[in-house]
Symmetry: C2
Subunit: 309 residues, 2 copies
């Protein structure tokens, strides 16, 4: 029986100024998915390591994403069996559901002989996101599948733009072990924003994209400013402002809330600085009495990767 094992990366959505449109992929952490083709039609989730998630395909993001793929695949007689290993904690804000959904559709696509382009796979994985959060957003699944930085220009129709990644860009992420539900984090956002704030935000998003193309780290740093969402959501994250100020003092270019939180990310221009920033995160959080994890990672350039085949 043909089988494959893939690594599916964590991702940082929004990237400060790019609410709902920009995302980036990490080299670690990531989920692993082992998948086999089966002669029995249907999707079977044999087990999930590391998290308490439903095995029933229609209630599991991998299952739902695969179902979306199978709906567009001609041969209805193939089936899939898979085991999921969750290394990205659900609810962390670094694309846990997106990684699993992305891993599942990329693995299945390879097993089937790659009938679908990556852009199509993004659409299938978005159905997993619809299950996980109620909306089929693409700002985590796009970087999880394509790697690097991605832009979701539009949802109607889905229009994904792969952006370049400047060399030596590192990410430090702190995940405070508190629960912030994506749906709650969405609900506290206002439906209307001030025009003058919106203008600032799109000035910064445009500059972030220019900075990525120019390898202009200073410009990237200046553009990592979120005047729309961060002022509202940061109240849900302990010591957010202190953390941000101290990480930037320690050399980080800038950062913000990862996705809908509670994780916070910082970008740096070297592994050394990214590790210093990690230490600063430890120093800020250690006295708070909140459990936390810190990840240090380069930007993942490839998206979902085959581990063995």
């Amino acid at each position: 029986m043909k089988s494959i094992k893939v690594f599916a990366p964590a991702t940082v959505a929004n990237v400060a100024c790019g609410f709902d449109v920009i995302g980036l992929a990490l080299d670690n952490p990531g989920d692993e998915i082992e998948m086999s083709l089966s002669d029995t039609p249907g999707i079977k989730i044999l087990g999930i390591n590391g998290a308490d998630l439903p095995l029933e395909p229609s209630k599991n993001v991998c299952g739902v994403a695969l179902q979306a793929l199978m709906q567009k695949y001609e041969d209805k007689n193939v089936g899939f069996e898979m085991t999921i290993t969750k290394n990205i904690q659900p609810g962390s804000g670094i694309g846990s559901s997106a990684a699993s959904a992305a891993g599942a559709v990329v693995a299945a696509n390879i097993l089937l002989g790659e009938p679908f382009a990556k852009e199509k796979l993004v659409r299938f994985a978005m159905e997993g996101e619809r299950l996980a959060s109620g909306s089929a957003h693409a700002d985590n699944v796009a970087p999880a599948i394509l790697g690097g930085f991605t832009l979701v220009r539009s949802y109607t129709p889905v229009d994904i733009v792969a952006l370049p990644t400047p060399p030596n860009l590192w990410v430090t992420v702190i995940h405070p072990q508190i629960e912030v539900k994506t749906s709650d984090a969405r609900e506290i956002l206002k439906q209307k924003v001030l025009m003058k704030d919106a203008i600032k935000q799109w000035g910064n998003v445009a500059a972030l994209v220019a900075g990525l193309y120019r390898n202009d780290y200073a410009l990237i740093g200046r553009s990592l400013e979120d005047v729309i969402v961060e002022p509202v959501r940061s109240i849900l994250i302990p010591a957010f402002h202190d953390l941000k100020i101290k990480c930037k003092e320690a050399g980080a270019l800038g950062g913000g809330i990862s996705g809908s939180g509670p994780s916070v990310f910082m970008l740096s221009t070297s592994e050394e600085t990214a590790r210093i920033v990690a230490n600063v995160m430890h120093e800020v959080y250690a006295p708070l009495g909140v459990d936390f994890k810190v990840h240090v990672s380069p930007i993942n350039q490839s998206g979902v990767k085959v581990i063995s085949q």
Copy 2:
């Protein structure tokens, strides 16, 4: 006496999705400014050809921009005399005041031996814009001085990013001879916008910048969509929607209102298409009984240019 003659280009601000932040420069039309250094301190406007504008320096955008420059220049004993030839009609929405202000500061800077960097000149010229429209915006003066496409990332502090210009990009502009005051065009805008519209807008601005870096004309075309300002301001422009649809059918990538109107611009990927689009504009406007002018121009790559010295 040292003297110089410069050409100062018309500009298209906003460029559809980039309200208040993106601008581009045209090769034509443009104003001309002849300027001489003088031993008598102060600014003297000897004459203005082609428009009825104040000669008094404190009431003229060139005078005010030059005053801003002189405030930062050490030697207070120099003066300037100038004659302005207006080929860009005031109130047209293609940066008439910006061109004159930009031309004046660039000419003066050259006469003084270039003590100021271009970014500084943008700030001086912005003072002309403050006089002309009540706000010191930079989205016309930046492309007039730097050429090509520019981005105003921020006003506090002023942070201008020069963007690349894909080859063979042409602009067609129709200027309906009706009056739309910048202040009126500003007043009809809402102070708040829907979050979902703002997200669409910054997705498009980000994609426009990516398209310019990638020379991706299709992406540029898809991103030339303005869901915030155009729906409100387009009511001030006769036959706007008909014009836009027919220009795109004729091969234009897309376009929108130039600045605060009433001019409308369209981008095309060749001179041939740009001229076909010009014909379409003629066809749409001829029956309306509104006077109009049409300009066809490549993107200006250099900003203000020296004609003679």
